[in-house]
């Protein structure tokens, strides 16, 4: 396995994650309504749920980007707002700087005081070595997302938060991104992935958290979730019924 410089231990310093009584509202609409959750396992935790369940906002809360109206997020004794630097968040639509692919990585490596010689290894890892000098804004959707993942991995995250990283991408790009996620998991990075795609969840998840109406409707191992879902909403979702 090529050395990318990030954590390779399964003894995870940021777990357990304990979320209690989390509430969040926007414009009078309740997004999260007293959400409680505890994550102890390493590996990939997939967060699923219908549109408007609060999945993306939950990731931003975990990353300390927004503050909840009420409730607590505790990363093994550290509040979310002070845990940001130890995590990386990849948005559904990556925001890339108006410069070359390589310069995008150079910028973040320099800004965060990381070893800049790792750039080529990171580009190679996400399959973008041949695009290094190309303007990042001209990458395809899949390539842009792989660059965003390389940028996230450049931060040596202990936790990788991914908000629908393969939404609207072609199958080839989905495969490439899932391979990068699996590799990160193997290296000991805790992955929390939001996805709408049950197929992707089956391929990647070690455990699944199903959100519905701002609360955890089900939290179980991937095997249990897909074979014997306990909640009605999760069962309906997996059966292809419309869940609101």
């Amino acid at each position: 396995m090529r050395d990318l410089g990030y954590v390779e231990t399964l003894e995870h310093a940021m777990l357990p994650l304990t979320v209690s009584g989390l509430r969040l509202s926007f414009g009078g609409k309740t997004v999260l309504d007293g959400l409680d959750l505890s994550l102890t396992a390493t590996g990939v935790t997939v967060i699923m749920g219908p549109n408007g369940a609060g999945k993306s906002q939950f990731l931003k809360l975990l990353h300390g980007l927004i503050a909840p109206d009420a409730g607590q997020i505790d990363w093994n004794g550290t509040p979310a707002t002070r845990a940001t630097a130890r995590q990386a968040l990849v948005f559904q639509k990556p925001v890339l700087l108006r410069r070359s692919v390589a310069a995008n990585l150079d910028f973040v490596l320099k800004a965060r005081g990381k070893d800049r010689s790792r750039r080529d290894a990171l580009l190679d890892h996400v399959g973008l070595s041949d695009k290094a000098r190309q303007p990042a804004r001209r990458l395809s959707g899949g390539e842009a997302q792989r660059l965003a993942l390389a940028r996230a991995l450049a931060l040596d995250p202990e936790v990788l938060l991914l908000d629908e990283p393969t939404a609207s991408l072609d199958p080839g790009s989905v495969l490439a991104i899932e391979a990068i996620i699996r590799d990160a998991r193997t290296r000991g990075v805790k992955v929390i992935l939001v996805t709408h795609d049950p197929g992707q969840a089956r391929r990647l998840a070690d455990e699944v958290v199903f959100l519905h109406r701002g609360r955890v409707a089900e939290h179980s191992s991937a095997e249990t979730f897909f074979d014997r879902p306990r909640s009605t909403v999760a069962r309906d979702f997996l059966d292809g019924r419309i869940v609101v």
């Binding site: 990353h63 980007l65 940001t84 630097a85 990386a88 968040l89 948005f91 925001v95 700087l97 108006r98 410069r99 070359s100 910028f107 973040v108 800004a111 965060r112 000098r133 190309q134 303007p135 001209r138 940028r151 931060l155």
Partner: protein
């Protein structure tokens, strides 16, 4: 007064084979306005970036104030700088009145708000796009500002150009603080005003043509730099 035809002919002759006086006036104009533009960018760009990224009480009032300063009348700026630099003024001990340095100061004061206000708008739009990503990457404010300035560099070049255009074309401020002294503080605009009042249209027209040519040349240069940089980026 010469007739217009003769004046134009003389003016073209002067432009094609400039005298020492003409070259001196053009040289001083460029030196004063380019220096003022550089200084205004050094002051105005960080100020614009700060206003674009910072959120503080009274920010709205500060934005209104900076935007209002864009319309500062040059003669008022000239008067204020004159009062500051005159012997009785707070900076009188520097002895700068009626020097090219005083003209640079006046033009810097005049165009810094233009650079700050226009760059603030450009950088704020860019920051709206980048801000969440920057916070997710745990960047400091200074790192964010650096990234915004670099990524907005082509648009900011246009801002610098607008500042230069305003500086090189203004007459009121440099007339008051420079005094339009021959071989010392005479620049194109003050020379045009003087020669026109004397009825010496040839020199005034020649200077006007050069001023127009400089405006066009600078615009063309900036445009070609921008296109060449974008082309280079596309084929890199």
């Amino acid at each position: 007064m010469q007739d217009f035809g003769e004046a134009f002919a003389l003016a073209f002759g002067l432009v094609l084979s400039p005298t020492g006086d003409l070259a001196e006036i053009v040289g001083l104009s460029l030196r004063v306005s380019l220096t003022a533009t550089v200084l205004a960018c050094l002051l105005g760009l960080p100020l614009g970036a700060l206003l674009a990224t910072a959120r503080f009480r009274g920010r709205g009032a500060v934005l209104v104030f900076v935007n209002a300063l864009m319309g500062l009348p040059p003669v008022v700026v000239g008067l204020l700088v004159y009062l500051s630099l005159s012997r009785a003024g707070p900076l009188g001990f520097l002895g700068l009145l009626y020097t090219s340095t005083a003209m640079i100061v006046a033009q810097t004061v005049l165009i810094t708000p233009i650079v700050a206000a226009l760059s603030r708008q450009i950088l704020e739009d860019l920051n709206d796009e980048y801000a969440e990503q920057f916070r997710a990457l745990c960047l400091t404010r200074w790192q964010s500002v650096q990234a915004l300035l670099w990524d907005g560099r082509y648009a900011l070049l246009t801002v610098a150009l607008a500042g230069f255009g305003r500086a090189v074309a203004e007459v009121g401020a440099v007339m008051i603080v420079g005094g339009n002294i021959d071989h010392l503080t005479r620049v194109m605009t003050t020379a045009i005003a003087l020669e026109t009042s004397k009825g010496e249209l040839a020199l005034a027209l020649a200077l006007g043509m050069i001023l127009m040519a400089i405006a066009l040349g600078v615009n063309a240069l900036v445009q070609s730099l921008r296109l060449s940089a974008e082309r280079q980026a596309a084929h890199a």
